[in-house]
């Protein structure tokens, strides 16, 4: 099994962070994983994306050009990548930020108003984690215990007070 995942949005939305969550989730599920960010000037506020591979076998290319799963948090990324999703793949879209809808019928699209949900649930800045929760639910990537372990690992010590909020956001996403 190989799960090639592409996460994309603007710099500052926490795309790389949820990529890291995913990679640890895979690691704790005893899979082979890789995480590859786009880097450069886009880190300073432009578009930003991140390739995550989760596989039973050693990972060849860590660069995801044709994702099994796509998560997008802005319109430019949606427009750019929606066509690259593999047939039978899944796409997770923050519908608060992306107005368009895909006309592809060979993939499953999930429209989650993640940014709005974050605002309504006192989880400002965690739209990314909410959307990731939806992806985890639809792909069955990890159980509750693994998810908790992952969050504790990836939330930096300085932000330890946000662990509960992250778990809440994931669960909220999974409930969508």
């Amino acid at each position: 099994m190989t799960n090639d995942i592409l996460l994309a949005g603007f710099g500052g939305q926490g795309i790389l962070f949820i990529g890291k969550m995913l990679a640890y989730l895979g690691l704790y599920e005893k899979k082979q994983v890789s995480w590859l960010p786009s880097y450069g000037p886009e880190m300073r506020g432009g578009t930003c994306n991140c390739s995550v591979c989760i596989s039973d076998d050693p990972i060849g290319s860590p660069l995801v050009l044709e994702p099994d799963q796509l998560l997008v948090m802005n319109t430019p990324s949606f427009d750019k990548f929606i066509g690259t999703v593999k047939v039978g793949g899944k796409c997770f879209i923050d519908s608060s930020l992306v107005e368009g809808k895909s006309d592809r019928t060979d993939i499953d699209c999930y429209y989650v108003p993640a940014t709005a949900l974050a605002g309504e649930n006192d989880l400002q800045g965690m739209a990314n984690v909410i959307l990731l929760g939806k992806m985890i639910k639809e792909t069955g990537l990890g159980d509750e215990e693994t998810i908790e372990k992952t969050v504790k690992k990836v939330v930096p010590p300085k932000k330890a007070h946000l662990i509960d909020a992250n778990i809440k956001a994931l669960k909220l996403g999974m409930a969508q």
């Binding site: 990679a23 890789s34 590859l36 880097y39």
Partner: protein
């Protein structure tokens, strides 16, 4: 105990250096290798090591020269344009027979080029890493774990043969995270000069003064020094080549690739196998010395060889030399920071094998 943790390739290199006893790091900021400096600036003071941000790439490599000359394990890292600046110092290091480790996290060139991954410094690192007759050991890891493992090897062999060792990575390997294991309980021990009787670290009134030098004004004397060094290189060639052959046993086409591109090539080979093409990957891990014997073994059953690089074709020269016209060698590459996708590589494989699949 060692728990698998996710680390960027650059960070793994840095942590591995500390664990190899690298006491001093001297560097200058440049993308895409800055995580190495950032990591070591945090870690070094905590383990009794030295991190110093130099005023220039040139100063950094000369700090390495001084530190290595005093018998202490040390390292610098940079990316392509910065390595060009360091080549003067590397030549002096080679000329004075000093061991050290130099990391090149390659980006696109020439000139300022770009900051995306590239392999266009192959010629430089294997053939012209500075003026004069010399070589450096060159390692090309292709996973984050291998980045870490290679650092120890590089320090050990640099010491053994008293020559600079280069780890040739690229922006992709430096920036990507993969699981890596370090032994949490291992004692961190900084190197000293105790096993380096040649070191200029103060003679303590116990021996004649040591001189670290690359100047020999008498032609015959300089020739003797260089010839002696090349005899050592012959030993290195005979015993230190490293390579990986992946599904080459029955391969009718072998893809030769190193570093991150070897990973892409493996993906392409898997795709090719699904289409019934017997393909394999030959991956040199040492670029100098180039694993000549190993590539000939890997290509025993191959009708054709394809070299894939993130350049316009540099390693392909060494592949051709090593195979000595025994079979056709073609090249496919992307450059400027563009990463060749497995599908592109597959197309080239199919194009080459189309006639006699």
């Amino acid at each position: 105990m060692s728990e698998l943790t996710l680390m960027k390739g650059n960070e793994a290199l840095a942590e591995a250096a500390i664990r190899a006893g690298c006491k001093c790091f001297f560097g200058y900021p440049i993308t895409p290798q800055t995580e190495i400096s950032a990591y070591l600036s945090k870690r070094m003071p905590k383990v009794g090591g030295v991190f110093l941000q130099a005023e220039s790439e040139i100063a950094a490599i000369n700090m390495v020269y001084g530190c290595a000359g005093s018998g202490i394990r040390c390292m610098t890292s940079s990316s392509s344009p910065g390595i060009s600046l360091k080549t003067e110092g590397i030549s002096y290091i080679a000329g004075a027979d000093l061991p050290c480790v130099i990391i090149n996290v390659q980006r696109g060139g020439p000139g300022l080029g770009g900051i995306q991954p590239s392999q266009s410094d192959y010629w430089q690192v294997t053939h012209a890493l500075g003026h004069g007759d010399f070589h450096a050991l060159v390692f090309a890891p292709s996973t984050v774990q291998e980045m870490a493992d290679t650092v120890t090897k590089a320090f050990d062999l640099a010491d053994k043969y008293r020559m600079p060792a280069v780890i040739l990575a690229d922006g992709l390997l430096g920036q990507m995270m993969e699981p890596v294991a370090f032994d949490e309980d291992a004692e961190i021990k900084m190197s000293d000069a105790s096993n380096k009787p040649w070191a200029a670290n103060g003679h303590g009134n116990r021996r004649e003064h040591n001189i670290i030098n690359s100047l020999y004004l008498q032609a015959a004397e300089l020739e003797e020094k260089v010839v002696a060094r090349f005899k050592r290189y012959e030993q290195v060639k005979a015993s230190e080549t490293l390579a990986e052959s992946y599904r080459c046993e029955d391969a009718e086409i072998v893809v030769a690739a190193y570093g991150s591109v070897a990973r892409l090539a493996k993906s392409a080979v898997e795709l090719a196998r699904k289409e019934g093409i017997k393909a394999g990957v030959f991956r040199p891990i040492t670029l100098w010395p180039f694993p000549e014997k190993e590539i000939n073994t890997a290509c025993e059953n191959a009708k054709k060889v394809l070299t894939v690089e993130m350049s316009m074709g540099q390693m392909v020269d060494d592949v051709r030399l090593a195979l000595n016209c025994s079979r056709p060698v073609e090249f496919f590459g992307r450059t400027g920071g563009v990463i060749p996708g497995p599908a592109e590589i597959l197309n080239k494989i199919k194009e080459m094998m189309g006639g006699d699949k």
